[in-house]
Amino acid sequence: MTRLQSQNELIELLDAMLGGEIDPSDHRRLQEILAADPAARRLYFDYLDLHLQLRLWQKAKAAAASVNEPEIRDISPPPPLFPFTSPLPSSFVGGPVFSYMVAAALLCVMLLGAWAYKISNVRDQRYVDKGRGSTTSGSWDRSEFVVAGRITGLKDCRWSDSDAGTCVGASAPLGREYALASGLMEITYASGAKVVLEGPCAYKVESSAGGYLARGKLTARISHRLSAVGGQQSGFSPLSSLPAPLFAVRTPTAIVADLGTEFGVEVDENGDTTSHVFEGKVAVKAGTREVRLAAGESARIEYDAEKGVVVGRGTAAFDKFTRRMPHQGPIKVYGTGQHCDCGVPDPNWYIASALNDPNFKPQHAVTTAVWSKAYLKSRPERAVWISTGNMLPRLPDGVVYTFRTRFQLNGSPPRGLELRGAFAVDNHVAAIRLNGNQVAVPEHGYDSPFLDSHPFSVTDGFVEGTNVLEFDVSNGISSKEMKQSWMALYVEIEAIVRPETEPQDASHKPKTPSDGGKEGAR
């Protein structure tokens, strides 16, 4: 039994159990699986958490909606402490909705199985384009459900097929077709190759290193690292007649195979194919003909009933394609200890290193209580002081601690993106870096009291994917007697996207979060 089958069986059993509809034999089976397999127990915890969190999410949503109700609400004394209530409405469980959901879950596990079965039986399927039939998908084995990659970006997607919706993070299995009426969608293959589909288009994931574009436009990008290695991808057999490409797009009239980096492919309503090379090289194969294109070149493949394949060469249309998914949604960057109480590990800030302290081990920063007369007051909704532990632990002087936080850009950095923030520190911020690039640090001192916040701003150096923001905090002041002293950092921060019209001249002073700069969204 494959791992996926085991997982499906486990989820099926869990759905039955959660609905109270599991029979004794299935219960025994569930118990056996859980007892034998630590991975199954982890999945068990995670799956239960999902159910729990979904109910909490709905409860919070309902509570928020009730707060927003316009009518005047009765202000009553708070309810007595007891009896305690569970986090979720008891009426839900055992109620008709719950029963239906359990039935739904069981039904859907069956449907999922049927879907997997359907996919597993398409091995003999061939794409024969009406009237053309010039390219085929090959005959590779697709005997089991295989994930070729994941959906890593969606923007303003409308689907030609109303049931074809997906979400970021979902798998892109072999055989899956995506019919996009409009919008953008990015698939990242396991090899690292990225495909940006631009609606309207129809695309099918055909192998772990390629797909079939029936119509519309896409851009395929293969990382330099992969290209440099030049290794043949496993599962690439269908296009083996081409010289070790890393990624290939099949269309009704051609096969466009990457020989390094980035290209665009467009298939018009007649099935005619135009490929544009943005970086590196591609090989375009149509029937028995093969054309090699370099960066900046394009080739159009037409099929003429009398002449056969007609190849026209031109220059690449760089602006015609969307080559990168823009970042979507809010950019989540957290202040130190934001939304935390004192004394707990900060899930978002990490102390990565301590220069001059050989005994230091990297650790999560810990939110700490501070003396209000000497330190800026923590505001948990924005930031809380952090250190290596609660209650301001004494730490060796002369050590430079590097505090680190990360945030994600799930696409190319939007224009006008800015991190605006303010820090307070005991004793001194020696450097601020974004992705290793230095950021200007405002003038500030070393000595207490640490009541002032110092604004900072970051406007460039952002990258697609994970961004790393670091603060180097040096501990200790000039006093030679003191060998250990308190060290802590407080950072309020927010990511905003400036409107294109906002001036960026030298006189522009960054607003700190405390100033109430609210153009952007967190």
Binding site: M17, L18, G20, I22, H27, Q31, L34, A35, R41, F45, D46, L48, D49, L50, L52, Q53, L54, L56, W57, Q58, A62, L81, F82, P83, F84, T85, S86, P87, S90, S91, F92, V93, G95, V97, F98, Y100, M101, A103, A104, A105, L107, C108, L111, L112, L154, C157, D163, G165, T166, C167, V168, G169, A170, G329, D341, V344, P345, P347, R406, T466
Partner: protein, 187 residues
């Protein structure tokens, strides 16, 4: 009036204890329920045990060492309540055997960081759903009516609704797992 001042002092102490307990309990409420639910994955059973545990925690609060881990203490109390419940329920309930319960209890991590991370990722994943998917999910978990009624409202067959809900849950589960994996890789 020594008698009155003594009473006032007791009342002040009670109030302080009460506030301390409520503060700690409120912070760990969801995590404790998650712990109980993982040992007794039948909703009504978990609710019963959770409520009983809450009462015992309050009664025994004097035994709690201030500054120590309240959630760990609460989980220990809850574990015994789960065992009591299993004994009382006897053969009326399909529950896990003792060995598995102990293993699950030992391996269950309901630490604030893990739970809050998963919650955060789930919220992100929910945001990534389409508006229609979110609406469907919200309505299904609202408990206002049956799936059949929901299907009627949406002019869809119940089977379509079942299918979509299942698909959404699977997407979310996969999305959260993926985010957790990425976080582990980054750190």
């Amino acid at each position: 009036m020594a008698f009155d001042s003594e009473n006032q002092r007791r009342r002040a102490d009670d109030l302080r204890r009460y506030e301390q307990f409520v503060g700690l309990f409120a912070q760990t409420h969801d995590n404790l329920f998650a712990y109980v639910f993982s040992l007794l994955p039948r909703w009504s059973d978990a609710e019963d045990v959770f409520q009983q545990t809450s009462l015992i925690l309050w009664r025994k609060f004097a035994e709690f060492q201030p500054g120590s881990d309240f959630l760990a203490w609460a989980c220990r109390v809850a574990f015994f309540e789960v065992q009591n419940f299993r004994r009382a329920a006897g053969r009326q309930r399909l529950t896990f055997n003792n060995e598995l319960i102990e293993r699950l209890a030992a391996e269950r991590d309901v630490g604030p960081q893990r739970v809050s991370l998963r919650r955060e990722f789930l919220l992100e994943c929910i945001e990534r759903l389409s508006e229609k998917q979110r609406e469907l999910l919200g309505r299904a978990y609202q408990g206002e009516g049956s799936i059949r009624q929901l299907a009627e409202q949406l002019k869809r067959s119940p089977q379509t609704i079942y299918n979509r809900l299942n698909q959404i849950r699977h997407l979310l589960f996969e999305c959260v797992e993926d985010a957790m994996r990425r976080r582990r890789t980054e750190q």
